[in-house]
């Protein structure tokens, strides 16, 4: 049985629908990437599942954690799941920590909440967690405030805080977007290592395909509030099928091989208030037909195990098209 099962999850803000029925399964210990441009609904999916959206958001559908329904669940149910079963870390680590509270206190708060440790024992555990995520001289720095740490270190502390509840699933919402490249690699490395050690499942939300390949087993590509393609990392990288996924790969510069002009995806993400009829990607798609602009394709399981929502997908690549250029080993270790 899967750990999290999301079915037909829909979200609208003030009557504007931003999620159009998301279906997603996360297995125990599995790492799943969620890829797409800003505003496509990657974060909203998980904020909605955990009930962290503002009150004006209307959420429908189902998100079950170990069989327990989370959508519109009572506050107390959500509070036991949050942090303890599903932890979440965010994009901007420096502003995600309370600026007027010592980091140790914030860590101990989670430890006390989920593990029942108090006083000196909780403090020892907080120091252990800070050590674990690679904060140097944790025992002296535990009493510092967030502004006395760098962005990368704040993200490490966020990860430590997430680990405090020993969760079954960690949602990492663009955890490296606000950090510079070397720190990014360190944080990805840390996440991969922790997953190896704890065996927890992970959802990695990102628009960086390289980062996703470094830490995930499987990835779902989202566009305008829908999942448009879903496949194992290998399948997705070797043979992307949806024109949007193909476009994402073509926009990545290749380090080896001859120098080539990058192919951008023309146009912009549609305004959720005025979505085009038919496939939302059709106005930007080079292989769109008249049919594409009038009928919305559903997510359909293909013969090779790939889930795809496209009427005119790219052909299977005979030679791995992109698999050789973005190596998973580039990021991990």
């Amino acid at each position: 049985m899967s750990l999290v099962s999301i079915r037909d999850l829909k979200v609208s803000f003030d009557g504007v629908q931003v999620l159009h029925g998301i279906d997603l399964e996360i297995g125990e210990g599995e790492a799943v990437g969620l890829v797409g441009e800003s505003g496509c609904g990657k974060s909203v999916t998980w904020l909605a599942a955990l009930g962290l959206l503002p009150l004006k958001a209307a959420v429908s559908g189902s998100a079950k954690f170990a069989g327990q329904e989370l959508v519109n669940a009572p506050r107390t149910t959500l509070e036991t799941v949050r942090g303890g079963r599903i932890a979440m870390i965010f994009q901007d680590p420096s502003s995600s920590l309370n600026p007027v509270q010592r980091v140790g206190k914030q860590l101990i708060e989670s430890i006390r909440l989920h593990r029942g440790l108090k006083g000196a024992a909780a403090r020892v555990e907080a120091i252990r967690l800070m050590d674990l995520v690679g904060i140097p001289s944790a025992s002296t720095r535990i009493d510092l405030y967030p502004h006395e740490f760098s962005g990368g270190q704040c993200q490490r502390i966020m990860i430590a805080m997430a680990l405090a509840g020993e969760p079954d699933l960690l949602i990492a919402d663009e955890p490296t977007t606000a950090l510079d490249a070397t720190i990014q690699a360190q944080i990805l490395d840390l996440l991969a290592r922790i997953r190896e050690e704890t065996g927890m499942a992970m959802v990695f939300i990102s628009h960086d395909l390289g980062a996703v390949s470094a830490v995930c087993d499987r990835a779902a590509v989202m566009y305008a509030g829908r999942v448009v393609e879903q496949n194992g990392i290998r399948g997705l990288f070797e043979s992307p099928r949806h024109p949007y996924t193909v476009g994402l790969f073509q926009a990545i510069p290749q380090l080896d091989g001859p120098r080539q002009r990058l192919v951008p995806i023309y146009g912009t993400v549609p305004d959720p208030r005025h979505l085009p009829t038919g496939c939302s990607f059709s106005p930007r798609c080079t292989s769109a037909s008249d049919f594409c602009t009038s009928v919305q394709p559903g997510l359909v399981r293909q013969d090779d195990g790939c889930d795809l929502a496209c009427f005119n997908p790219a052909a299977h690549a005979v030679v791995p098209a992109y698999g050789h250029s973005v190596k998973t080993t580039e990021y991990v270790r």
């Binding site: 962290l52 949050r82 942090g83 932890a87 965010f90 007027v100 509270q101 989670s110």
Partner: protein, 309 residues
């Protein structure tokens, strides 16, 4: 830290010098105390004697230097009208003023902050709209109008409370009410927007994602952060404890500092006005200093910035 305090002391001294200079010049340029105090029909030799007595015949720069020298020896002059030391006169009025401004401040804090926070936590609810409407009413109705309305209702029509004077605690009720209404409104609105701002911050989402109860999120994470801007406003209110009640004191004939300001300015009682302004400036400086200390306690980012100086 010592350095920091030293810099503040020097700055406070400069501020006081500026206030003294300004008060000195404006008072002397705006009317002749001899004519105002003795009346327009006073004989010329009486006016001359008065001017001689108070040194008003000296050139302005000489008067100014004499005044500064006098203040530096902590002599603040004598009231031209009452012939008593000016500072003593000012100080004797402070308790009466504090007797109405301190309770008013307590009401502003005790009603304004909870109302604003409650409204922020229940946005768009009837309570929120009620708080907004009442607070706009509170700070848009001028105190002289509000004071007169209250007198009309509670003193004239109902006869429950006295309309003026300072004989018992019952006399203080209407002045305190008049003083606090506007401040409660401002405090409520300010607390509401500070709280709404904080509730939208990423660290609040983090606190919720941790699994904290909403109560703990509000008490342990939102309120300590919202306290920083609220303390700024509180500082202004503390700063005006001494000087902020002139209108209300006049309406209710409350014998405090505010009324002394009005009468001594009207009489061009130079030493009294100058002492008043010095005392008021000092109270503002002290209030600012307290706000600064509070900032340091509430926000560690400011503390380390200060240590870097």
């Amino acid at each position: 830290m010592l350095n920091h305090i030293l810099i503040r002391l020097v700055r406070a001294f400069l501020t006081l010098m500026l206030v003294m200079t300004f008060a000195f010049l404006v008072l002397r340029l705006s009317g002749d105390p001899a004519i105002i105090l003795l009346g327009p029909d006073a004989p010329q030799d009486a006016i001359n004697a008065f001017r001689e007595r108070w040194g008003l015949n000296d050139p302005l720069w000489k008067q100014y230097l004499a005044y500064i020298a006098q203040v530096l020896t902590l002599d603040f002059g004598v009231s031209m009208r009452d012939q008593v030391p000016a500072l003593e006169l000012v100080m004797s009025r402070i308790p009466a003023t504090l007797a109405i401004t301190v309770p008013a401040l307590i009401l502003k804090v005790a009603i304004g902050i909870p109302a604003g926070v409650y409204a922020a936590l229940h946005r768009q609810s009837i309570a929120d709209r009620g708080v907004i409407t009442l607070s706009i009413f509170g700070f848009t109705v001028p105190s002289f109008v509000l004071g007169l309305i209250l007198v009309l209702i509670f003193a004239v029509t109902l006869g429950w409370l006295p309309s003026g004077g300072q004989d018992s605690w019952r006399h203080a009720i209407l002045p305190i009410a008049t003083l606090s209404v506007g401040g409660i409104g401002i405090m409520a609105r300010f607390s509401r927007s500070a709280m709404i701002e904080v509730l939208g911050q990423p660290y609040i989402r983090t606190a919720m994602a941790k699994g904290l109860s909403w109560r703990d999120v509000v008490w342990k994470h939102a309120l300590p952060n919202a306290a920083v801007p609220i303390v700024t406003l509180l500082g202004f209110m503390v700063g005006s404890l001494i000087a902020g009640a002139a209108v209300v004191e006049s309406i209710f004939s409350w014998p405090g500092v505010g009324r002394l300001i009005v009468t001594s300015v009207a009489n061009r009682d130079l030493a009294v006005v100058q002492s008043l302004l010095l005392v008021i400036a000092c109270s503002m400086i002290v209030a600012n200093f307290l706000v600064d200390l509070a900032y340091g306690l509430l926000d560690p980012r400011l503390r380390s910035k200060r240590a870097a100086h």
